[in-house]
Amino acid sequence: MKPGKVGVEEAIETVHRIRITLSSKNVKNLEKVCADLIKGAKDKRLKVKGPVRMPTKVLHITTRKSPCGEGTNTWDRFELRVHKRVIDLHSPSEVVKQITSITIEPGVEVEVTIADV
């Protein structure tokens, strides 16, 4: 980690360790956003690690199909899958802000964690 010199220019340019967490129900959109982010970061010559794919969290809901109690006991099995990707960067925060603002995809939740702030 570069020690941040107290100066006007460098104050803005202090490189932080930034972790971007992307989560979504939709894998396709998620992968697309990931790819865009990494591409954007690489264009700015940033040190990027990722995307690290976290294990998918599956929420199971099993319910009776019948609205009443009559009939054969058939069950519906619903599931909700949440996918999570993590991208690590070393960059100043403003740059990250620019990058994340560009890539817009519905249904993808973006969280930016900046270390040492």
């Binding site: 803005i12 690590d88 100043p92 603002s101 817009i104 939740e109 969280e111 964690t113 040492d116 702030v117």
Partner: protein, 589 residues
């Protein structure tokens, strides 16, 4: 082995989430303003992150502290912010404005200042203005409308009246102007109040009423101006309040009769009762002195009619002249002729003209004789029964259904007959009374029938039992003879039902069944005393009893099966027999 150094330490990090924010109207353009996505801090810290915290509405809203940036910038911002601070209206506190760099801020205690490594030294707390400061005219308008001056633009929630053709027109309200109003005082004119000495017996209420009844409120002209009334409206109100107007002409007065009777002084009867209609009429007729006298005269006579009015009117007029003999005669005539007591046709004994020289009671029979006299009336008043009885020769008189010709014919005959006989002989028609006539009704007719011949009995359902008879040899032979040697097969299984016994086990064929049935039933009958469980039986006795019951049931089953088999055999045999006997006309199912 320690833990591997983590990429990010949670406690020293700031986390932002990308969220959607609606575009606001205040004209501030957002970055990425197409959909308005901004980063908001979600970890609850307050450290400043370059590039992220500026956009964060959380930091702007609450004006929380942020870390230092640089001394130069600090000074500049400090000056600006103090001027534009939203707390400019707040009361000045001495502690705030001293050059203390760690000047107390009202919300300081609520702020948690994270000890961040980079910015821990010389961090300052500063008021941060929230959003754009409201311009002065906007603030003035807000204050005028009554909103508090807290830097929030309430006008964004207000709607302009009459804009965009809403259809509302703006009417300025008449606000209460406290400086121009006077104390609300009512003035009463109490010049007519009679001051009473207050007794102990007087109620307060009555006193108040006494005071209030004769007082009238006065209208002050200044009242009009204060309440904002139109002068016309005020004038109308003032006029309506005037009590004297009400008494004058609008109210109906029904006391004209009282006025009328007031003139008749000393007339007791007129004052007591409700005056009759005649009084009214008379009142209208004349108002002279004679009128008064006529009233008196009328009162004396009890029966009064409309005609009396005219009479008295005539009297009234004649009074003015001296009374002549002719007048008196005329009056007596009028009274006599128009007197109500005299009904037409009422023959008084006193009336000399109506009398004859014979007593009236002698003529009681006249009417009946007159009616009975056939010479005068002919056949008009005669009933057909009378005509037939007068002529007994003709037996066949007209019955209830009367023919006109017969009637006329008989009438002529009767006339001839009657003319021969003496007139005094009356034809007496006797009618048979209802009781003597032989009235035949249903009961009477029925009673003529003797019970010996028609003995009444109960209606019963036809019994079917008599068809089958006891089967004996003699009977079989008898039936054989009667049927012509043919044994009839009846029933579904085509059995000679005539020859079959009614009860199983009573005849020849039944013997077979009997034998089978007997065995089963025999045991039962012999052992009709079923083993009953007794209290306190030993297990062995219990076992024995159960075994006995089982035996019985087994035997019963066997017997039932045997019976069934036997029956089936019989039906089969019957079928064979039927098949062999001959004509294929016998159809077997």
């Amino acid at each position: 082995m320690g833990k591997k150094k983590k990429f990010i330490e949670k406690k020293k990090s700031a986390t932002f989430a990308l969220v959607y924010k609606e575009a606001t109207d205040d004209g501030n353009e957002e970055d990425g303003a197409g959909t308005g996505r901004i980063f908001t801090r979600i970890d609850g810290g307050f450290s400043h992150v370059p590039g992220f915290s500026e956009e964060d509405p959380r930091s702007q809203l609450h004006g929380y502290a942020y870390g230092e940036q640089g001394e130069e910038e600090e000074e500049e911002e400090e000056e600006e912010e103090e001027d534009l601070s939203m707390f400019a209206d707040a009361e000045e506190e001495d502690t705030e404005e001293t050059g203390d760099e760690n000047g107390s801020h009202k919300f300081q205690t609520a702020v948690k200042r994270p000890q961040s490594g980079a910015n821990s030294s010389s961090s300052r707390f500063r008021d941060r203005r929230g959003g754009a400061a409201l311009p002065d005219h906007v603030r003035k308008e807000l204050v005028d409308l009554g909103f508090p001056d807290d830097g929030y633009d309430y006008l964004q929630h207000m709607r302009k009246i009459g804009a965009a053709g809403v259809g509302a027109s703006f009417v300025p309200t008449n606000r209460l102007q406290l400086d121009r109003i006077r104390t609300d005082v009512k003035v009463y004119d109490s010049s007519r109040v009679a001051v009473n000495l207050v007794d102990e017996t007087t109620d307060e209420q009555r006193l108040i009423e006494a005071v209030g009844s004769s007082t009238r409120p006065l209208r002050r002209p200044a009242f009009v101006e204060e309440q904002g009334l139109d002068p016309e409206v005020a004038a109308a109100l003032a006029n309506s309040d005037d009590g004297s107007q009400f008494d004058s002409c609008d109210e109906l007065e029904d006391d004209f009769v009282i006025h009328a009777t007031e003139n008749a002084d000393g007339d007791d009867s007129a004052c007591q009762e409700i005056p009759k209609r005649q009084d009214v009429g008379i009142h209208k007729v004349g108002n002279s002195n004679g009128h008064r006298e006529s009233v008196e005269e009328e009162r004396e006579g009890e029966e009064e009619d409309e005609e009396d009015v005219h009479q008295i009117a005539r009297k009234d007029t004649t009074r003015q002249r001296c009374i002549r003999l002719l007048d008196e005669q005329f009056e007596s005539l009028a009274l006599r002729e128009y007197d109500d007591d005299m009904l037409p046709g009422d023959f008084d004994e006193e009336d000399p003209e109506a009398r004859g020289h014979a007593d009236i009671s002698q003529f009681d029979d006249v009417l009946s004789e007159f009616l009975a006299d056939s010479n005068i009336h002919g056949d008009k008043y005669k009933t057909p029964a009378e005509t037939t009885s007068s002529r007994p020769s003709k037996s066949s008189g007209p019955a209830l259904g009367i023919r006109l010709e017969a009637c006329q014919e008989s009438s002529h005959a009767s006339l001839d007959d009657v003319s021969d006989t003496s007139e005094d002989e009356l034809v007496i028609v006797e009618e048979e009374s209802e009781d003597e006539r032989s009235n035949w009704d249903c009961e009477t007719v029925v009673s003529t029938l003797s019970n010996l011949d028609n003995h009444p009995g109960k209606i019963l359902a036809p019994s079917k039992s008599n068809s089958k008879k006891q089967l004996t040899l003699g009977r079989v032979l008898e039936e054989k003879e009667s049927n012509g040697g043919v044994i009839r097969l009846r029933g579904r299984h085509h059995l000679p039902l005539d020859l079959l016994p009614e009860k199983p086990g009573s005849t020849l064929i039944g013997e077979k069944f009997k034998g089978i049935g007997k065995t089963g039933k025999g045991d039962k009958e012999s052992g009709s005393k079923k083993p009953v469980s007794r209290v306190g039986e030993t297990p062995e006795e219990h076992k024995l009893r159960k075994a006995a019951v089982k035996e019985q049931r087994r035997d019963a089953r066997a017997a039932k099966k045997a019976l069934k088999v036997c029956y089936r055999d019989e039906s089969q045999r019957a079928q064979h027999g039927a098949a062999n006997t001959g004509p294929s006309g016998i159809h077997l199912p």
